[in-house]
Assembly symmetry: C2
Homo-oligomer: 175 residues x 2
Protein backbone atom coordinates (compact mmCIF):
# COMPACT_ATOMS: atom_id res chain seq x y z
CA UNK A 1 0.00 0.00 0.00
CA UNK A 2 2.84 2.31 0.82
CA UNK A 3 4.83 1.94 -2.35
CA UNK A 4 4.96 5.53 -3.37
CA UNK A 5 8.62 5.51 -2.53
CA UNK A 6 10.52 2.51 -3.88
CA UNK A 7 9.91 0.08 -1.10
CA UNK A 8 12.67 -2.33 -2.11
CA UNK A 9 14.54 -3.41 0.92
CA UNK A 10 18.16 -2.38 1.31
CA UNK A 11 17.68 0.64 -0.87
CA UNK A 12 18.42 4.13 0.32
CA UNK A 13 15.93 6.72 -0.75
CA UNK A 14 17.35 9.77 0.88
CA UNK A 15 19.97 11.91 -0.81
CA UNK A 16 23.28 12.53 0.87
CA UNK A 17 23.54 16.09 2.02
CA UNK A 18 25.61 18.46 4.08
CA UNK A 19 24.40 16.69 7.20
CA UNK A 20 26.24 13.58 6.03
CA UNK A 21 29.26 15.30 4.52
CA UNK A 22 29.80 18.80 5.84
CA UNK A 23 31.81 20.04 2.87
CA UNK A 24 29.75 18.35 0.20
CA UNK A 25 29.10 21.65 -1.54
CA UNK A 26 32.79 22.41 -1.92
CA UNK A 27 33.56 18.86 -2.99
CA UNK A 28 31.14 19.24 -5.83
CA UNK A 29 32.22 22.73 -6.74
CA UNK A 30 35.83 21.64 -6.87
CA UNK A 31 34.91 18.77 -9.15
CA UNK A 32 33.07 20.98 -11.63
CA UNK A 33 35.62 23.77 -11.43
CA UNK A 34 38.47 21.43 -12.24
CA UNK A 35 36.50 19.79 -14.98
CA UNK A 36 35.92 23.05 -16.81
CA UNK A 37 39.41 24.26 -15.99
CA UNK A 38 40.97 21.33 -17.84
CA UNK A 39 38.49 21.41 -20.71
CA UNK A 40 40.11 24.48 -22.25
CA UNK A 41 43.57 23.00 -22.85
CA UNK A 42 42.04 19.62 -23.69
CA UNK A 43 40.36 21.14 -26.73
CA UNK A 44 43.64 22.55 -27.99
CA UNK A 45 45.55 19.37 -27.26
CA UNK A 46 43.16 17.24 -29.24
CA UNK A 47 44.06 19.18 -32.37
CA UNK A 48 47.54 17.75 -32.08
CA UNK A 49 46.38 14.31 -31.07
CA UNK A 50 47.76 15.02 -27.64
CA UNK A 51 46.31 14.30 -24.22
CA UNK A 52 46.82 15.58 -20.74
CA UNK A 53 50.01 13.61 -20.32
CA UNK A 54 51.53 15.67 -23.14
CA UNK A 55 50.31 18.84 -21.47
CA UNK A 56 51.89 17.95 -18.15
CA UNK A 57 55.17 16.84 -19.70
CA UNK A 58 55.46 19.95 -21.84
CA UNK A 59 54.42 22.15 -18.96
CA UNK A 60 57.02 20.88 -16.53
CA UNK A 61 59.77 20.89 -19.13
CA UNK A 62 58.87 24.51 -19.87
CA UNK A 63 58.81 25.28 -16.20
CA UNK A 64 62.21 23.79 -15.63
CA UNK A 65 64.12 23.69 -18.93
CA UNK A 66 67.03 21.29 -18.88
CA UNK A 67 65.46 18.74 -16.58
CA UNK A 68 66.47 15.13 -17.06
CA UNK A 69 64.20 12.34 -18.21
CA UNK A 70 64.44 10.73 -14.79
CA UNK A 71 63.35 13.93 -13.09
CA UNK A 72 60.35 14.23 -15.37
CA UNK A 73 59.36 10.64 -14.73
CA UNK A 74 59.54 11.22 -11.01
CA UNK A 75 57.58 14.46 -11.27
CA UNK A 76 54.81 12.98 -13.39
CA UNK A 77 54.84 9.77 -11.40
CA UNK A 78 54.47 7.56 -14.45
CA UNK A 79 56.64 4.78 -15.75
CA UNK A 80 59.50 5.17 -18.15
CA UNK A 81 57.56 3.25 -20.76
CA UNK A 82 54.55 5.51 -20.44
CA UNK A 83 56.60 8.66 -20.72
CA UNK A 84 58.44 7.17 -23.66
CA UNK A 85 55.46 7.37 -25.97
CA UNK A 86 54.47 10.85 -24.83
CA UNK A 87 57.99 12.16 -25.07
CA UNK A 88 58.54 10.57 -28.46
CA UNK A 89 55.46 12.31 -29.84
CA UNK A 90 56.46 15.64 -28.36
CA UNK A 91 59.94 15.30 -29.83
CA UNK A 92 58.69 14.14 -33.22
CA UNK A 93 56.24 17.02 -33.36
CA UNK A 94 59.05 19.44 -32.61
CA UNK A 95 57.80 20.67 -29.25
CA UNK A 96 60.59 19.26 -27.12
CA UNK A 97 64.23 18.64 -27.88
CA UNK A 98 66.78 16.54 -26.05
CA UNK A 99 70.33 17.69 -25.52
CA UNK A 100 73.13 15.51 -24.26
CA UNK A 101 74.21 16.47 -20.76
CA UNK A 102 77.53 18.29 -20.59
CA UNK A 103 78.68 16.96 -17.28
CA UNK A 104 76.97 13.58 -17.51
CA UNK A 105 76.72 12.49 -21.11
CA UNK A 106 74.25 9.73 -20.28
CA UNK A 107 71.62 12.31 -19.54
CA UNK A 108 69.27 13.70 -22.15
CA UNK A 109 68.29 17.11 -20.92
CA UNK A 110 64.85 18.22 -21.99
CA UNK A 111 64.15 21.64 -23.46
CA UNK A 112 61.10 23.11 -25.13
CA UNK A 113 61.53 24.40 -28.64
CA UNK A 114 60.05 27.71 -29.67
CA UNK A 115 57.03 25.79 -30.90
CA UNK A 116 56.80 24.00 -27.57
CA UNK A 117 57.02 27.28 -25.77
CA UNK A 118 54.23 28.67 -27.92
CA UNK A 119 52.04 25.64 -27.33
CA UNK A 120 52.45 25.66 -23.59
CA UNK A 121 51.51 29.33 -23.53
CA UNK A 122 48.49 28.61 -25.71
CA UNK A 123 47.46 25.92 -23.27
CA UNK A 124 48.00 28.00 -20.16
CA UNK A 125 46.48 31.27 -21.26
CA UNK A 126 42.86 30.12 -21.17
CA UNK A 127 43.46 28.70 -17.72
CA UNK A 128 45.07 31.90 -16.52
CA UNK A 129 42.24 33.95 -17.96
CA UNK A 130 39.66 31.70 -16.35
CA UNK A 131 41.30 32.16 -12.97
CA UNK A 132 41.50 35.91 -13.50
CA UNK A 133 37.84 36.05 -14.39
CA UNK A 134 36.89 33.91 -11.40
CA UNK A 135 38.87 36.10 -9.02
CA UNK A 136 37.04 39.12 -10.38
CA UNK A 137 33.62 37.51 -10.36
CA UNK A 138 34.14 36.30 -6.83
CA UNK A 139 35.27 39.80 -5.95
CA UNK A 140 38.60 38.66 -4.52
CA UNK A 141 41.14 41.36 -5.12
CA UNK A 142 44.33 39.33 -5.21
CA UNK A 143 44.84 35.60 -5.20
CA UNK A 144 46.24 35.44 -1.69
CA UNK A 145 43.29 33.71 -0.04
CA UNK A 146 42.69 31.20 -2.79
CA UNK A 147 46.39 30.50 -2.99
CA UNK A 148 46.57 29.83 0.72
CA UNK A 149 43.60 27.51 0.48
CA UNK A 150 44.93 25.55 -2.47
CA UNK A 151 48.36 25.17 -0.91
CA UNK A 152 46.74 23.92 2.28
CA UNK A 153 44.88 21.30 0.25
CA UNK A 154 48.11 19.53 -0.57
CA UNK A 155 49.40 16.56 1.35
CA UNK A 156 52.63 18.15 2.43
CA UNK A 157 51.93 21.66 1.50
CA UNK A 158 55.09 23.68 1.21
CA UNK A 159 53.80 26.54 3.29
CA UNK A 160 56.76 28.63 2.25
CA UNK A 161 56.66 32.12 0.83
CA UNK A 162 55.23 33.11 -2.51
CA UNK A 163 58.62 33.19 -4.13
CA UNK A 164 58.74 29.44 -4.69
CA UNK A 165 60.59 28.97 -7.89
CA UNK A 166 60.48 25.28 -8.54
CA UNK A 167 57.76 23.61 -10.50
CA UNK A 168 56.57 21.15 -7.95
CA UNK A 169 56.79 22.78 -4.62
CA UNK A 170 58.72 19.93 -3.17
CA UNK A 171 60.68 18.60 -6.08
CA UNK A 172 58.82 15.34 -6.10
CA UNK A 173 55.14 14.65 -6.23
CA UNK A 174 53.94 12.66 -3.35
CA UNK A 175 51.15 10.70 -4.94
Amino acid sequence: MDKETPAQDDVVDEAISASDIPRIALIEQLFFAYRDFTADPDRILSRFGFGRAHHRALYFVSRRPGMTVAELISLLDITKQSLSRVLRQLIDSGHIRQIEGQTDRRQRLLYPTRAGRELVLDLSWPQSRRIDRALQLADLGDDELVSRFLRAMRNSAPQGGQGEDNASGSGKLES
Copy 2:
Protein backbone atom coordinates in the same frame (compact mmCIF):
# COMPACT_ATOMS: atom_id res chain seq x y z
CA MET B 1 83.12 29.15 -27.24
CA ASP B 2 79.97 30.17 -25.45
CA LYS B 3 78.33 26.81 -24.97
CA GLU B 4 77.82 26.88 -21.28
CA THR B 5 74.07 27.07 -21.87
CA PRO B 6 72.76 24.53 -24.37
CA ALA B 7 73.40 26.46 -27.52
CA GLN B 8 71.22 24.29 -29.74
CA ASP B 9 69.21 26.46 -32.01
CA ASP B 10 65.45 26.57 -31.57
CA VAL B 11 65.68 25.61 -27.95
CA VAL B 12 64.27 27.74 -25.20
CA ASP B 13 66.43 27.98 -22.13
CA GLU B 14 64.32 30.28 -20.02
CA ALA B 15 61.59 28.95 -17.76
CA ILE B 16 58.05 30.18 -18.15
CA SER B 17 57.07 32.37 -15.25
CA ALA B 18 54.43 34.72 -14.00
CA SER B 19 55.57 37.25 -16.57
CA ASP B 20 54.40 34.86 -19.29
CA ILE B 21 51.33 33.51 -17.53
CA PRO B 22 50.08 35.79 -14.77
CA ARG B 23 48.26 33.09 -12.84
CA ILE B 24 50.85 30.40 -13.24
CA ALA B 25 51.15 29.96 -9.49
CA LEU B 26 47.45 29.24 -9.08
CA ILE B 27 47.39 26.97 -12.11
CA GLU B 28 50.03 24.84 -10.50
CA GLN B 29 48.51 24.96 -7.05
CA LEU B 30 45.16 23.89 -8.44
CA PHE B 31 46.80 20.98 -10.21
CA PHE B 32 48.52 19.70 -7.09
CA ALA B 33 45.55 20.37 -4.84
CA TYR B 34 43.22 18.40 -7.07
CA ARG B 35 45.74 15.63 -7.44
CA ASP B 36 45.99 15.09 -3.70
CA PHE B 37 42.27 15.67 -3.27
CA THR B 38 41.44 12.74 -5.53
CA ALA B 39 44.18 10.49 -4.19
CA ASP B 40 42.26 9.79 -0.98
CA PRO B 41 39.20 8.17 -2.55
CA ASP B 42 41.33 6.55 -5.23
CA ARG B 43 43.09 4.49 -2.60
CA ILE B 44 39.79 3.24 -1.21
CA LEU B 45 38.35 2.57 -4.63
CA SER B 46 41.28 0.43 -5.66
CA ARG B 47 40.45 -1.98 -2.89
CA PHE B 48 37.21 -2.76 -4.72
CA GLY B 49 38.80 -2.74 -8.14
CA PHE B 50 36.92 0.46 -8.83
CA GLY B 51 38.08 3.64 -10.50
CA ARG B 52 36.96 7.21 -10.59
CA ALA B 53 34.12 6.42 -12.92
CA HIS B 54 32.63 4.23 -10.21
CA HIS B 55 33.09 7.01 -7.69
CA ARG B 56 31.32 9.55 -9.85
CA ALA B 57 28.47 7.22 -10.71
CA LEU B 58 27.91 6.19 -7.11
CA TYR B 59 28.24 9.75 -5.94
CA PHE B 60 25.62 11.17 -8.25
CA VAL B 61 23.23 8.31 -7.65
CA SER B 62 23.62 8.94 -3.93
CA ARG B 63 23.15 12.63 -4.46
CA ARG B 64 19.97 12.12 -6.41
CA PRO B 65 18.49 8.71 -5.60
CA GLY B 66 16.02 7.50 -8.17
CA MET B 67 17.70 9.08 -11.17
CA THR B 68 17.36 7.27 -14.47
CA VAL B 69 20.16 5.68 -16.42
CA ALA B 70 19.79 8.30 -19.12
CA GLU B 71 20.15 11.09 -16.61
CA LEU B 72 23.31 9.56 -15.22
CA ILE B 73 24.77 9.14 -18.69
CA SER B 74 24.08 12.76 -19.44
CA LEU B 75 25.52 13.90 -16.13
CA LEU B 76 28.71 11.89 -16.48
CA ASP B 77 28.96 12.70 -20.16
CA ILE B 78 30.00 9.20 -21.12
CA THR B 79 28.46 6.71 -23.50
CA LYS B 80 25.88 4.13 -22.62
CA GLN B 81 28.41 1.39 -23.28
CA SER B 82 30.95 2.93 -20.97
CA LEU B 83 28.49 3.37 -18.17
CA SER B 84 27.29 -0.17 -18.73
CA ARG B 85 30.45 -1.76 -17.39
CA VAL B 86 30.72 0.60 -14.44
CA LEU B 87 27.08 0.20 -13.53
CA ARG B 88 27.19 -3.56 -13.91
CA GLN B 89 30.08 -3.76 -11.46
CA LEU B 90 28.39 -1.45 -8.98
CA ILE B 91 25.22 -3.52 -9.18
CA ASP B 92 27.02 -6.85 -8.95
CA SER B 93 28.97 -5.63 -5.94
CA GLY B 94 25.73 -4.61 -4.28
CA HIS B 95 26.37 -0.88 -4.14
CA ILE B 96 23.62 0.20 -6.50
CA ARG B 97 20.23 -1.30 -7.24
CA GLN B 98 17.88 -0.71 -10.11
CA ILE B 99 14.15 -0.43 -9.63
CA GLU B 100 11.62 -0.42 -12.41
CA GLY B 101 9.99 2.96 -12.81
CA GLN B 102 6.44 3.17 -11.54
CA THR B 103 5.11 5.62 -14.07
CA ASP B 104 7.37 4.59 -16.93
CA ARG B 105 8.21 0.93 -16.71
CA ARG B 106 10.97 1.24 -19.30
CA GLN B 107 13.03 3.17 -16.84
CA ARG B 108 15.44 1.58 -14.39
CA LEU B 109 15.70 4.00 -11.51
CA LEU B 110 19.02 3.95 -9.72
CA TYR B 111 19.32 3.79 -5.96
CA PRO B 112 22.27 3.24 -3.66
CA THR B 113 22.02 0.30 -1.28
CA ARG B 114 23.06 0.65 2.32
CA ALA B 115 26.49 -0.62 1.29
CA GLY B 116 26.60 1.94 -1.50
CA ARG B 117 25.65 4.65 0.92
CA GLU B 118 28.40 3.57 3.26
CA LEU B 119 30.97 3.49 0.49
CA VAL B 120 30.14 6.91 -0.83
CA LEU B 121 30.46 8.30 2.67
CA ASP B 122 33.79 6.54 3.10
CA LEU B 123 34.94 8.10 -0.13
CA SER B 124 33.71 11.58 0.67
CA TRP B 125 34.80 11.87 4.27
CA PRO B 126 38.52 12.19 3.61
CA GLN B 127 37.76 14.84 1.01
CA SER B 128 35.53 16.72 3.39
CA ARG B 129 38.15 16.52 6.12
CA ARG B 130 40.85 17.71 3.77
CA ILE B 131 38.77 20.74 2.84
CA ASP B 132 38.05 21.44 6.48
CA ARG B 133 41.69 21.25 7.35
CA ALA B 134 42.63 23.49 4.43
CA LEU B 135 40.07 26.10 5.41
CA GLN B 136 41.51 26.12 8.90
CA LEU B 137 45.15 26.17 7.81
CA ALA B 138 44.42 28.98 5.39
CA ASP B 139 42.65 30.76 8.20
CA LEU B 140 39.42 31.17 6.26
CA GLY B 141 36.56 31.12 8.69
CA ASP B 142 33.77 29.81 6.49
CA ASP B 143 33.88 28.53 2.94
CA GLU B 144 32.13 31.50 1.43
CA LEU B 145 35.10 32.97 -0.42
CA VAL B 146 36.41 29.68 -1.74
CA SER B 147 32.92 28.67 -2.74
CA ARG B 148 32.43 31.88 -4.68
CA PHE B 149 35.75 31.38 -6.41
CA LEU B 150 35.10 27.78 -7.37
CA ARG B 151 31.63 28.54 -8.67
CA ALA B 152 33.05 31.36 -10.74
CA MET B 153 35.54 28.94 -12.27
CA ARG B 154 32.77 27.08 -14.02
CA ASN B 155 31.76 27.68 -17.60
CA SER B 156 28.22 28.65 -16.86
CA ALA B 157 28.45 29.16 -13.18
CA PRO B 158 25.10 28.98 -11.51
CA GLN B 159 25.64 32.07 -9.43
CA GLY B 160 22.49 31.38 -7.50
CA GLY B 161 22.19 31.15 -3.76
CA GLN B 162 23.84 28.58 -1.58
CA GLY B 163 20.71 26.49 -1.36
CA GLU B 164 21.29 24.73 -4.63
CA ASP B 165 19.88 21.29 -4.19
CA ASN B 166 20.66 19.50 -7.38
CA ALA B 167 23.81 17.56 -7.91
CA SER B 168 25.08 19.30 -10.97
CA GLY B 169 24.25 22.93 -10.63
CA SER B 170 22.69 23.03 -14.03
CA GLY B 171 21.29 19.55 -14.44
CA LYS B 172 23.64 18.76 -17.28
CA LEU B 173 27.35 19.00 -17.40
CA GLU B 174 28.53 21.18 -20.18
CA SER B 175 31.71 19.43 -21.20
